[in-house]
C-alpha cells in the first residue's frame, strides 16, 4: 500500500509537470520566434506523462499495451516523415481522427466493463464517446476528401433531417446507457455505431473548400472528448490538455470561419457547392490565353509584381521554382511581393508554410489588409493556382455564395496573369469573373512547368 501511494504521488507530480509543459509549449508555438522550441517542450511533456503511466496502480495487459503503442507510433512516424508538405492538412485530419477514436475507445472500454460509477461519470463517458466517435469518422471522411479518395460531395434532400435523426437516436441510446436504465453491451454498441455514422453523414456533404474549418472543428472536438474522458478516468493531465485544446481549437475555428466571412453553422449546414454551380452562368466575356515568353518579357520590364499563390501552386509543388523566378526578377530590380489570403490553400497559413519551405523571406510576404492597397500600383498580378480568393464577384454579386468574403484585389493591377491548369471553375465550383476581365490573360499549364518556362523567358530577355 505505501508503495502505491508514492507511485500515485509520482504520477500526479508528473502530470502536473506535463500540464505546465503543454501550456508553455503552446504559448511558445504562438510566436514565430519561439515556435520551434514550443513543440520540443510539449514533446517532453508527452514523454514524461507516457512513461510515468506505466507505474499506474493496478495496471495489467502490458503485453498488449506495448505492442499497440509501438505499432501506432511506428506507422505514424513513418507516414509523418514521408508526407509532402502540401499534404499536411489531411495528415493533421488523420492524426486528429485517431485521437478522437482513442477517446471513443476509452469510453467504450469503461462503459462495456461498467466501470463508470455514478450518473455523472457515465454521462461524461457517453458525451466524450459521441464527440470522439464523430471526430474519428468525420476526420476520416475529411482525410478522404483532401486526399482525393472521395471526390464528390454527396448531398440529397432531407440530409440535415437524417443527421438530426441520427443525433437524436444516438442521444436516446446514450441517455439509456448513462442513466443505467439499460446499459447492456448491445445498447452501448448501438450508441457507438450511430455516433460513427453521424460523423460520416455530417461530413460527406461539406465541400472541399470548407474542409480546413471542419478539420479545425474536429480538432477542437477531439480536445473536448479527451477532456471529458479525463474526468471519467480522473486524470488531470487529460482534463487540462484536452480542455486547453478544446477552447483553443474553437477559437481557431472561429478565426478561420471569419476569414471566409461565413458562420460555422453556414459551413456545416449550407450545402455550399450547389448554390455556387447554379450561379455560375452569370459571367460574360471570354478567356484570353497568353504564351509564357510574352509573360516573361512583361515580368522582366515591370516595376512591381505581386504574386498571389493558391492551392494550385501547392499541388504542382511549384513554390521552389516560383521563388527562383522571383529572385531573378528581384536581381533585375523588380519590386516583388507575395500576397497571402487568410484562407489561401487548404488551411490558414498553408501558403506561408510552403513559401517558408522554399526559402522566401518573411518581409516579402504580406497579408490581405497590408497588400490590398498596393494592387493599384502593381504592373503585374501573378495569380498562381488561386481562384476564389481573387474572385471579384465576392464584392459585387449579392447572389454569389462567396459574396462578402474579403478578397485580394488582384483585378486592380494593370495586368493580371493567371497560371492555371485548365479552364475549370475553382474548388467552390464558382466561375471566376477575374479571368474574363480585359486586363487578364490566362497562362495554362502546370504551375511548376510554367514557372520553369518563365525563368527561361526572362533569362532570354538579356
Amino acid at each position: 500500500m505505501p508503495s502505491w501511494l508514492s507511485a500515485d504521488l509520482a504520477i500526479q507530480a508528473s502530470y502536473f509537470v506535463t500540464a505546465v509543459l503543454f501550456i508553455m509549449g503552446l504559448k511558445r508555438m504562438s510566436s514565430p520566434v519561439t515556435a520551434r522550441s514550443g513543440i520540443l517542450w510539449a514533446g517532453a511533456g508527452m514523454a514524461v506523462a507516457t512513461l510515468i503511466t506505466f507505474l499506474y496502480p493496478g495496471m495489467s495487459n502490458f503485453a498488449l499495451i506495448v505492442p499497440a503503442m509501438l505499432i501506432g507510433a511506428v506507422l505514424a512516424w513513418w507516414s509523418g516523415k514521408r508526407v509532402a508538405m502540401t499534404n499536411m492538412p489531411q495528415m493533421i485530419a488523420l492524426y486528429n481522427g485517431m485521437g478522437g477514436g482513442a477517446a471513443a475507445a476509452i469510453a467504450a472500454v469503461e462503459l462495456y466493463r461498467g466501470a463508470t460509477a455514478g450518473y455523472v461519470t457515465a454521462a461524461l463517458a457517453v458525451g466524450g464517446g459521441i464527440i470522439g466517435a464523430v471526430s474519428f469518422s468525420g476526420s476520416a471522411i475529411a482525410f478522404g476528401k483532401l486526399q482525393g479518395l472521395i471526390t464528390r460531395s454527396i448531398r440529397f434532400s432531407g440530409q440535415q433531417f437524417l443527421n438530426l435523426l441520427l443525433l437524436a437516436a444516438a442521444l436516446v441510446l446514450g441517455t439509456l446507457v448513462a442513466s443505467q436504465v439499460n446499459a447492456t453491451p448491445l445498447v452501448v454498441t448501438g450508441f457507438f455505431v450511430l455516433a460513427l455514422l453521424l460523423g460520416v453523414t455530417m461530413t460527406l456533404p461539406i465541400g472541399g473548400a470548407d474542409m480546413p474549418v471542419v478539420i479545425s472543428l474536429y480538432n477542437a472536438l477531439t480536445g473536448l472528448a479527451v477532456g471529458l474522458e479525463g474526468f471519467v478516468l480522473n486524470n488531470a493531465a487529460m482534463i487540462i490538455a484536452g480542455t486547453v485544446v478544446g477552447s483553443a481549437g474553437t477559437l481557431l475555428t472561429q478565426l478561420m470561419a471569419r476569414a471566409m466571412n461565413r458562420s460555422l453553422g453556414n459551413v456545416l449546414f449550407s450545402g455550399f457547392g450547389d448554390t455556387g454551380a447554379a450561379a455560375s452562368g452569370a459571367v460574360s466575356g471570354s478567356l484570353k490565353p497568353i504564351e509564357a515568353a510574352d509573360v516573361g518579357v512583361m515580368l522582366a520590364f515591370a516595376n512591381k509584381v505581386i504574386v498571389v499563390p493558391g492551392y494550385g501552386m501547392a499541388v504542382a509543388q511549384a513554390q521552389h521554382k516560383i521563388w527562383e523566378l522571383c529572385q531573378l526578377l528581384i536581381d533585375r530590380g523588380v519590386h516583388v511581393r507575395f500576397a497571402i489570403h487568410p484562407v489561401a490553400g487548404r488551411m490558414p497559413g498553408h501558403m506561408n508554410v510552403l513559401l517558408a519551405e522554399a526559402g522566401v523571406p518573411y518581409d516579402l510576404i504580406a497579408d490581405l489588409d497590408e497588400i490590398n492597397a498596393e494592387f493599384d500600383t502593381a504592373d503585374v498580378a501573378l495569380i498562381i493556382g488561386a481562384n476564389d480568393v481573387v474572385n471579384p464577384v465576392a464584392r459585387t454579386d449579392k447572389s454569389s455564395p462567396i459574396y462578402g468574403m474579403p478578397i485580394l484585389n488582384a483585378d486592380k493591377a494593370k495586368n493580371v496573369i493567371v497560371i492555371k491548369r485548365g479552364s475549370g471553375a475553382g474548388f467552390s465550383g464558382i466561375e471566376n469573373a477575374l479571368f474574363y476581365l480585359d486586363n487578364t490573360r490566362m497562362l495554362y499549364g502546370d504551375a511548376q512547368k510554367v514557372a520553369a518556362e518563365l525563368i527561361q523567358a526572362i533569362k532570354a530577355v538579356d
Binding site: 520551434r36 513543440i39 505499432i71 509523418g80 493533421i92 483553443a248
Partner: protein, 105 residues
C-alpha cells in the same frame, strides 16, 4: 479530485486555451492547429489506463485499438508539427544573415 475542483480546472483550462491562441499571427495557424492536435495526443495515457484495466476479450480488443490510435495521434502530431516548425527556423536564420544559423545543429 472532487467534482467542484474538476469543474474549476475545466474552467481555468478553457480560459488558458483561449488566451494562448488569441493573439497568434495567421502564418502560425496551421502549425498551431497541428501543435494542439499533438497536445490532445495525451489521450494516450488514458488509453493505456483503459487497456490496463480491461478484462474481457472485447474490452481488450477495443483498448488495444485505442492505444494504437492514441500513439498514432501523439507521434504523428509531433512529427508533422516538428517538420513544419523546422522550416520557420531555417527561414528565420536565412533572414538573419545567411550563415549565422547554420553553425548550431
Amino acid at each position: 479530485m472532487t467534482g467542484m475542483v474538476a469543474l474549476y480546472i475545466f474552467m481555468l483550462a478553457a480560459f488558458t486555451g483561449y488566451e494562448v491562441i488569441s493573439r497568434v499571427p495567421v502564418i502560425l495557424h496551421t502549425p498551431l492547429m497541428s501543435g494542439s492536435n499533438f497536445v490532445h495526443g495525451i489521450v494516450l495515457v488514458g488509453a493505456m489506463v483503459a487497456l490496463g484495466g480491461a478484462h474481457t476479450p472485447l474490452e481488450k480488443t477495443i483498448g488495444f485499438i485505442g492505444v494504437l490510435l492514441a500513439a498514432g495521434n501523439a507521434v504523428g502530431g509531433y512529427v508533422v508539427t516538428e517538420r513544419m516548425l523546422e522550416m520557420f527556423k531555417s527561414s528565420g536564420a536565412r533572414r538573419g544573415g545567411g550563415g549565422g544559423g547554420q553553425g548550431k545543429h
